[in-house]
Assembly symmetry: C2
Homo-oligomer: 112 residues x 2
């Protein structure tokens, strides 16, 4: 799965990965890979800058810790991040419905 198509949707996915609870960057990457069945196995060079963006935007907040001699930056959703995630879900559904309609063919075949 080419991740280029993600443009504009990655942020929502990262927020969703943090909804279950705080995670550090590497774990976010793995969670995303697992929940998508390996379809979105993003390079770290995509994930880390994106997390930095989200933090700067105030959607997540990070804190350093050290586990097993390795420093970790653990992120968790802020209230604004939670709101943004809800918005991203709404936006996605609207977007997906519009694309599916315009693209034609069977509208919602999903993974049946």
């Amino acid at each position: 799965m080419r991740a280029e198509a993600l443009k504009g949707h990655l942020d929502g996915l990262l927020l969703a990965a943090l909804e279950d609870g705080p995670r550090h960057g590497y774990a976010v990457k793995e969670a995303l890979r697992d929940t998508t069945g390996g379809k979105f196995d993003l390079p770290t060079g995509t994930v880390y800058p994106a997390l930095h963006r989200l933090e700067q935007a105030g959607l997540i907040s990070g804190s350093w810790s050290v586990v097993g001699g390795r420093r970790r930056r653990t992120y968790e959703l802020t209230d604004e991040g939670r709101r943004s995630l809800a918005g991203a879900r709404d936006h996605w559904q609207e977007f997906a419905a519009a694309i599916s309609t315009a693209l034609g063919g069977s509208p919602w075949p999903a993974t049946n």
Copy 2:
């Protein structure tokens, strides 16, 4: 609807708009606006360059005509364009399913 999220999906939509039959650029733009209920009312500066890209890629072929003193470039799908459209549909479904899963919440609320 912010069309920025279209990144990587616009081409498929344009191809789909040409599936019913040949259309000129402006008509493609209108068709897209109508089939999406006004959600994707793309500026011409988005549509024309995209059509040029598709033509260069050999997915559509264009020909000039003059209607009412105005020149028109009418495009139609090539065989390769038709194949690409089918691929775009497959790709979209896979992509949408993956995003929906990762984004969580209600998986396929669609427009029920």
